[in-house]
């Protein structure tokens, strides 16, 4: 379970996030949506403290992240995977090495690394690509490698920062189904930031709408439609609701 308690973030006197509180249940695929500049990426990055809240606190499984020592925080981050819009692979490392590094950092037993890397590559369907370098891969393949890297150390949480925003529609669907199967197979809690309604609609179980650094509304997405939990008039939600009917 991830809890944000009245978190705020100030960048040069501008409030990027203002008093946001939300709870993400274990096993959810949770969407954060909103127009650009709404603060959704900032909010996501607070969940592994890439961005430290100016005020408020972040709890993972009931434990505060902001009070951890540097060493403890590094430890905590090893069970929180993250993927990015720009993939952020190490261009000078092969696909295999890119995944192995996550295991190395987590002190994963050396003798079991090879098997684990291959297992992860197989899961994302890239077992034939392990000796290639990122520059030789397509965008979708790069994101699969990034996913393999993020899940290598068996995280309980996977943070996805605009994971499909630089991919074409069919690749987007492939990546989303990989994320969905990570959630279903391993029970990993997934949080996705996106500005694309279709992405959120297709896999999220619950969605929060952000606008200008504030939480506007949280909705459950059910197979039969959308159930509003806390309603506010907001165009994004209207769009969600229209699409759902």
């Amino acid at each position: 379970m991830i809890q944000l308690k009245t978190v705020s973030k100030k960048f040069n006197n501008e409030m990027a996030i203002q008093d946001v509180s939300l709870t993400i249940q274990k096993g959810d695929i949770y969407g954060l949506i909103g127009p650009s500049g709404a603060g959704k990426s900032t909010l996501l990055r607070m969940m592994n403290l890439l961005e430290r809240p100016t005020t408020g606190d972040v709890f993972i499984e009931g434990k505060s992240l902001t009070n951890l020592s540097n060493a403890k925080l590094r430890e905590a981050r090893k069970s929180i995977g993250m993927i990015f819009q720009q993939f952020n692979l190490v261009a000078n490392k092969s696909v295999y090495k890119n995944i192995e590094i996550a295991l190395e950092l987590a002190n994963f037993p050396k003798s079991e690394r090879k098997a684990r890397v291959e297992e992860c590559l197989k899961f994302v369907g890239l077992e034939a690509m392990q000796h290639k370098y990122p520059a030789q891969l397509s965008g979708g393949q790069k994101q699969r490698v990034a996913i393999a890297r993020a899940i290598a150390n068996n995280p309980t949480i996977l943070l996805c920062d605009e994971p499909t925003s630089s991919l074409d529609p069919s690749t987007t669907n492939e990546i989303l189904s990989v994320l969905q199967s990570i959630n279903q197979t391993f029970g990993v809690t997934i949080i996705i930031v996106s500005h694309e309604m279709d992405v959120i609609k297709s896999i999220c179980t619950r969605v929060s709408v952000l606008s200008e650094g504030q939480l506007y509304e949280t909705v459950d997405i059910m197979p039969l439609g959308i159930h509003t939990i806390e309603a506010h008039p907001q165009s994004f939600v209207d769009a969600l609701r229209m699409g759902g009917e």
Partner: protein, 220 residues
């Protein structure tokens, strides 16, 4: 081989050896000290993992001051320090002191610049994986910036050769000093030209090696 080269063969070999010693020592100083200093310069910048305004300002100022000196003046200015360090301010060994100092300042700046080329996102990915500062440096930054670091060292090495040519003023010797004393001052223009050709060949060779290595290790 031209007669003049045979006539001065021993001196020329000696001069080449001195240049190699001076440039070699500069490279060692650049790698052993310039690389860490440049890395620290980068990491202490605003928004980086070791953000520290004081350390950054002090290092930055120091590097700038050393690089502001016309090199000849730096050599003279450092004479007391050199004497303190190696017991004499004259000779090839003494020449290494100012060369090492300029080498550190020169290469550290190029290291800082190369590291700036590493995409910010890659460092963020490293942090999100729980990487320590050491791991970020050795397993991400240096891996991603390695061809820039090699090209920087190539550029630096060529500058070190140029700097080494004026070490004659403190009896450092080397090819440049030989060219001036035997070629220019004794009106043996042909001898001076031969020395210049040796320098050109040396610089070409270093540039080719640097470029080839940088290209080989660049998978981006």
């Amino acid at each position: 081989m031209p007669d003049v080269l045979i006539q001065y063969q021993a001196e020329i070999v000696q001069a080449i050896l001195e240049t190699f010693i001076m440039v070699g020592a500069s490279i060692v100083a650049a790698v052993l000290v310039g690389l860490p200093v440049g890395t620290l310069l980068f990491l202490c910048q605003k928004g980086k993992v070791l953000e520290n305004k004081l350390v950054h300002t002090v290092l930055n100022l120091l590097v700038n001051i050393i690089r502001s000196f016309p090199f000849l003046l730096l050599v003279v200015f450092l004479i007391p320090f050199t004497r303190l360090l190696v017991g004499t301010a004259i000779g090839t060994t003494a020449a290494i002191v100012p060369l090492a100092i300029i080498a550190i300042a020169h290469y550290s700046r190029l290291v800082e610049q190369s590291l700036l080329d590493v995409p910010k996102g890659v460092i963020e990915a490293a942090i999100s994986m729980g990487a320590s500062v050491n791991a970020i440096i050795f397993k991400f930054l240096y891996v991603e910036a390695r061809s820039g670091l090699v090209l920087g060292l190539t550029t630096s090495t060529i500058s070190f050769i140029s700097y080494s040519t004026i070490m004659g003023v403190v009896g450092g010797g080397g090819i440049g000093d030989f060219a001036i004393r035997y070629g220019y001052q004794q009106f043996r223009t042909d001898l001076m030209m031969y020395m210049i050709i040796i320098m050109i060949l040396l610089v070409q060779l270093i540039q080719i090696i640097g470029m080839t290595v940088a290209r080989k290790i660049d998978k981006r």
